[in-house]
């Protein structure tokens, strides 16, 4: 009996140690922050575009007599721990608040004072969303999610004015930035969150008959309000519709399991490109498709992206500082 108890204790202890070291390796292995910098620029550009479009109709959505009155939005979001700086902005300050928001998003995209502007960019993004919840959709969810993780990680370490200024003043050596655990942490958070998004997008479809009988993609193409490319010719090719329907669900559900396998990752990501470009071209949701692809880009190899970003540095600067280049950089997605 005692031997069994000893065995069980040893088993639990070994398992706990194995889980603990795998956990540490997964979350805390230092990684090249270059990919995070690329994601910051891409997300920042999408945020700028998203908010520039709000600027076209600002009084209609954020003004006093907008579509969504304050009592309505307060009722819809009651008790949901929401916040928005828009509730504090008087009507006369609407445009000032808007341009201040755009300035913050521009600084975040350029990577100036990124530690602060990344947090402010997140607050700006969420404030706009929480002022007009019924006008939002998946794009806004992914915009905010990416901005949150970019604020957590050192997204301004590369491809940023922060870095340019630091190198120029001699505070930071030029060349490849040193690997950082916080960069890995942020990339892993994006990785895992994308898996959660696709997994639930996939399994929630299993409740619908159309995803089982193969009709679902037709129902998407036949929606006149979404339609941006005429796909009605597929009515004469129902087997293609069925194949597309089943492939989409299978891909979404399996994404979380397969994207971690290095050999399968390029195939999984190629499907992501096909799916989201398809959504953009056929259903007119280019912004949503593109921001999902930005999220998927977090699975790209950090080593290769680091080399690519380094190649963007002017040759003169690289030659001067070649000896300072950091040699070993871990990949967060092994």
């Amino acid at each position: 009996m005692r031997r069994i108890a000893d065995y069980l204790v040893a088993y639990v202890k070994d398992s706990a140690q194995a889980v603990s070291s795998s956990w540490d390796a997964f979350w805390f292995t230092p990684a090249d922050p270059s990919l995070l910098g690329v994601l910051r620029v891409l997300t920042g550009l999408m945020l700028l575009y998203t908010h520039a479009v709000w600027g076209l109709v600002l009084p209609e959505f954020f003004g006093e007599s907008g579509w969504l009155s304050e009592p309505l939005v307060r009722s819809l979001t009651d008790g949901q721990y929401n916040y928005s700086f828009w509730w504090l902005v008087p009507a006369s300050g609407m445009w000032a608040a808007y341009w201040a928001s755009m300035a913050i998003l521009a600084l975040f995209t350029l990577g100036l004072w990124t530690r602060v502007t990344s947090i402010l960019a997140f607050l700006v993004t969420v404030s706009y969303i929480y002022r007009v919840p019924p006008a939002t959709f998946g794009l806004d969810q992914i915009n905010a999610m990416l901005t949150l993780y970019l604020a957590i990680g050192p997204s301004g370490k590369v491809l940023s004015l922060d870095r340019w200024l630091a190198v120029r003043s001699g505070r930071t050596p030029a060349g490849r930035p040193r690997p950082l655990a916080s960069a890995n942490l942020a990339l892993r958070l994006i990785n895992v969150h994308m898996c959660v998004v696709y997994f639930f997008a996939g399994i929630s479809k299993l409740q619908g008959e159309a995803w089982w009988n193969g009709d679902a993609m037709w129902r998407a193409f036949a929606n006149y309000e979404y339609q941006s490319a005429d796909m009605t010719w597929l009515a004469w090719h129902p087997r293609i519709i069925e194949l597309m329907t089943h492939t989409s669900v299978l891909w979404e559900i399996s994404f979380a399991a397969l994207v971690w396998r290095p050999r399968l990752r390029p195939i999984v990501l190629a499907f992501a490109v096909a799916l989201h470009v398809g959504i953009g071209a056929c259903l007119g949701m280019w912004t949503f498709g593109l921001i999902m692809l930005v999220g998927c880009a977090s699975f790209l190899p950090t080593e290769a992206i680091g080399r690519l970003v380094e190649a963007l540095v002017p040759a003169r600067q690289r030659a001067r500082t070649a000896s300072e280049v950091v040699p070993a950089i871990a990949s967060p997605v092994a």
């Binding site: 998203t50 639930f200 007119g284």
Partner: protein, 189 residues
Amino acid sequence: MSVDDACATDARLETGEASGPKRRWVRRAVSLWLLLHLFAIVIAPASVAPASEVVQGACRLIQPYLGALYLDHGYHFFAPEPAESTLLAYEAERPDGTVVRGRIPDRSTHPRLLYHRYFMLTEHTSDAPEEVAELWYASYAEHIARDQGAARVRLIEQTHNLSTMERVRDGGRLDDPEGYEDEELGVFP
């Protein structure tokens, strides 16, 4: 001490930049937060109906965190299945008796993202909670009235049913008038 200090290389530890015990505590604290965060981002989509009372209760428990970070999402894109659209037609009557008719969203709206904003305004009314439905319609009507200089606005919810493949093969079009079903929402104010 930052996460990077906590995960510093041995060389940095030797220089005293990051001390051992402190380093462990930072990692443990970050790990605890990670567990909470992972729980939150999984429980939020899992709590979308139909969900068990256990899952819904767990989600309510962590709602402040989800709400503050805007993480409370189901990610049920086109689920359970792609559905018909909900549109909003209106008739705005001006004081001089003229009537302006329109429908939201208007497919001629550009850029496309703006079109989607209007589309979402009408799509979300289809799942409006009963207790705020009237407030919702009144808010839209008030905006239309101001925009059109109207004294009264009549709102009609239009459901645009999806055409079947058979119908399209028989010569039907996605925007055929018979595909729309109207439901009167009322006259405002």
